[in-house]
Amino acid sequence: MTVMEFFGCTFITFGPPFALFLFTIARDPMRVIVLMASGFFWLCALLMSSIVWFAMVPLRDHLAFGVVCSVLLQEIFRFLFYKILRKANDGLLAVSQQTTEQHVTPKDFSNRHIMAYVSGLGFGVIAGTFSIVNVLADMSGPGTIGIEGDSKYFFLTSACLSLCIILLHMCWGVIFFSALDKKQWIRVGMVVTAHMLFACLSLVNQASSSDNSEVYLGSLIPSYLLLFGSGVAAFLTAGGSLVNLKAALICRRGRYEIE
């Protein structure tokens, strides 16, 4: 039972990101490296926010403070990563130009959304993994949750929310980078706000208990609505539209390529 739960939740959380990784990232070494590097930046952000949380001794029990700090720090580090990525653009181009056939790789750089997507996914994967991996380790047994008065949907919600944050980071990466490229500060602000909104929504989960599982709906539904909204925004940002969505559905050729 616990093993089944473990595998189910693992697949919920890591299924879609793994598919994305496999189909869009893994074949290109440059993207793997950028993914790794963005993960590293997220780690640095997490480390900073932990230090802040740790240093503020009186506020340690009020997670809201830590969460707000952490969100801001993550966005700052996303900004830093953007700066570094754009600065290193030439170098990366040089590296990958030799790496693949010349007429293929430049796509990564001509279409700036690709690296934005990759780094967003890197942020998301590491954030989602950090938030779920220890839960997963506990999930595999020998015990399970619910006896001490916690909700029995704890694991399921955790998995779904982790998936949500992975995908959200991915969308935010695209929006954020293109907004910075075009100096649209409002959109940058929107990303930060959306991130803050998501984080603060998840504060609701603290109220859950074994006879109060509905609380989860209060965070899950808005989170996924936010994900949908962010997804649409990212799609539009990356040059998508209803027309080419239709075209993609009709004409199957080349639909797996990121243009």
């Binding site: 893994a26 590293f40 040089a94 590296v95």
Partner: protein, 606 residues
């Protein structure tokens, strides 16, 4: 196991830490031994290489000099090439050069230098990740390696478990100091043996160590696995398994075997040694040893008289590879595999059937290992193959012209030049052509349309012709002329790359063989210490720490490779990675873990 038994691995370890990332140059005389069984063109290849390789202190001179410094490589003789390229490398550093149109060739040359880029990083990521995964999986599933124990190495006499922190601290430092002394002594012994050419002793030493590891450690590991899963196994089966495993390993590592298998064995050995370290070193000592190793690695590799540096330099001056039993190589080491022809021809067929666009994608699929599998031999790295392919397209005529007259021996060197120069030529050309497949915005330099691009191309082909002549004075003349013809004709074809590919089977074989020998080498010691760090981080049961260490180490490895691309000499691979790893390990377990635990248990997401 027991006190005596585990003292041995440390003997092995002394050998390992001298391993750094390095990329060896092509063609080494030792390599000719295992190649005896191979077809005659190999000897042609070897001799061709040797003439060009004799006095090369720089690792990758043959790979990097010719394209980057066309003028100097033409004018200078072989020994001078290195020095020139070194001085020029420094002058080429500044980035703004890339924007200057008339230095387009120079800056593409610099890009060539970065060839050991993304793809090679991944080729190291994969094995390092695999090694860590083996260690972490073992640590988390087999309690034998994590439980408290009372047997330790002789090297760590201080093992007071109940001592106060201060005592533990100095004890761990004392232990680490003793281990470091042992490492230093053994390294110097090895260096002396190598210096005075006691190859037999070294090889005997290495083989004895491998036997110990492959048989004894694997038996121990098997026993613990069986114990952990509570499944009985009779001694006959166990001895059969261990015997086969061990003999296979000995053959693969010390004699010949498929590259993939050799890599797998090296990874397994590293993992086993790492596990033994985690098991038999006292808790605190592991961390101090890791810290001390960082310093030692730095000193030994970078100091002017550092033993490992001397070792590497000696090996280079003798034009030999460093003992293959101790170095993981992402590409060809010294073994020519036996069963490579089938795989290679298959791959070639695959390439031919695909059209140009698909080719790149298809090649992209082979990350790290898969490439070796697809290749049968040992993956020549992607960029190499791409470069070589674009070289062939220009080379087609030339190779065809001299196909019957000792293609291989005379082709080798021009190929090595072409594979460097031609891609740029093509690039420059496709730029100037207003471009077939590319987005026009995308090229790296603002090369003026038409004129300069064409000029660059002409210049480059000219240069490579001249260098080809220079290289093999006697036989190269037809080569050179053929090449110039090819340079003239091949370029206008620009995008239609598949044109001559079927026409040059011999050349493609040769080129791939040459390219196999290039690749990044990473010492097993680096594998071991990375894995020790990650395994130790995972032993306290927090996956976040493990992950953080993993990411930090890989990023450190990336940085090291970046430095490698800049300095192009043997660099210690431990310092950056281990520093990152240690910092993130302690920071994560002390600061991040409580924060994340709280967030996780409250289901708050950040």
């Amino acid at each position: 196991m027991n006190y005596q038994g585990v003292t041995f691995p440390i003997l092995l370890m002394e050998l390992h830490p001298f391993l750094q990332i390095s990329s060896m140059n092509t063609g080494d005389p030792l390599a000719s031994d295992p190649r005896e069984g191979s077809p005659t063109e190999r000897t042609g290849l070897m001799s061709g290489n040797q003439t060009s390789n004799t006095d090369r202190p720089s690792y990758r001179s043959s790979a990097s000099d010719s394209p980057t410094m066309p003028e100097t490589s033409v004018n200078a003789n072989e020994t001078a090439v290195v020095g020139d390229s070194n001085s020029n490398r420094r002058s080429r550093r500044p980035r703004e050069e890339r924007t200057r149109p008339d230095s387009a060739s120079a800056s593409t040359g610099e890009d060539e230098e970065l060839m050991y880029g993304a793809k090679h990083v991944i080729m190291l990521f994969v094995p390092v990740t695999l090694c860590m995964m083996v260690v972490v999986a073992t640590m988390s599933s087999i309690t034998f390696y994590t439980q408290e124990q009372n047997t330790y190495f002789v090297y760590t006499p201080f093992q007071d478990q109940e001592a106060p922190t201060g005592t533990k601290l100095w004890q761990s430092f004392a232990n680490a100091g003793i281990i470091l002394c042992a490492v230093i002594v053994m390294t110097i012994v090895l260096l002396m043996l190598y210096k005075y050419r006691c190859y037999k002793v070294i090889n005997g030493w290495l083989i004895v160590s491998s036997v110990m590891m492959l048989f004894f450690f694997s038996y121990m590991y098997l026993e613990q696995v069986m114990r952990a899963y509570n499944s009985p196994l009779d001694y006959i089966t166990a001895s059969l398994i261990v015997w086969n495993f061990g003999m296979g390993g000995l053959f693969c590592i010390h004699w010949k075997g498929p590259l993939l298998l050799q890599q797998a064995y090296l990874i397994i050995i590293s993992a086993l040694v790492a596990l033994t370290f985690i098991r038999y070193l006292p808790d605190w000592t592991v961390w101090t040893v890791l810290g001390v190793m960082v310093v030692w690695d730095l000193v030994a590799v970078l100091c002017p008289k550092g033993p490992l540096r001397v070792l590497v330099e000696t090996a280079q001056s003798r034009n030999e590879p460093i003992f293959p039993a101790l170095i993981y190589s992402s590409a060809m080491v010294w073994i020519v595999t036996m069963a490579d022809d089938g795989g290679r021809s298959k791959k070639k067929k695959k390439q031919e059937t695909k059209d140009t666009d698909n080719n790149a994608d298809e090649e992209d699929d082979d990350g790290g290992f898969k490439e070796h599998m697809a290749n049968g031999i040992s993956g020549h790295s992607l960029e190499d193959s791409v470069a070589a392919r674009s070289a062939f397209q220009a080379l087609g005529d030339m190779t065809q012209a001299q196909k019957d007259s000792s293609v291989h021996s005379s082709c080798v060197d021009p190929l090595s030049y072409y594979e460097k120069s031609e891609p740029q030529t093509n690039l420059a050309f496709s730029e100037s052509n207003g471009n077939i497949q590319d987005e026009p915005t995308m090229q790296r330099q603002a090369v003026p349309e038409g004129a300069v691009g064409g000029a660059v191309a002409a210049d480059e082909s000219d240069v490579s012709v001249r260098s080809a002549k220079k290289k093999q004075k006697k036989r190269a003349r037809p080569t050179g002329e053929g090449a110039s013809a090819a340079g003239g004709e091949g370029e206008p074809s620009g995008g239609e790359q598949q044109r001559e590919r079927p026409a040059v089977p011999g050349a493609s074989d040769d080129a791939s063989e040459m390219e196999e020998e290039r690749g990044i080498k990473l010492g097993l010691g680096d594998f071991i210490f990375y894995s020790v760090l990650v395994g130790k981080a995972s032993s306290n049961g927090d996956w976040n720490t493990t992950l953080a260490c993993f990411v930090a180490i890989l990023i450190g490895l990336c940085c090291t490779l970046l430095l490698l691309a800049m300095f192009r000499k043997a660099l210690p691979a431990l310092p950056i990675s281990l520093t990152f790893g240690l910092v993130f390990n302690f920071a994560t377990s002390a600061l991040v873990q409580p924060f994340m635990d709280k967030l996780n248990s409250e289901q708050v997401y950040i």
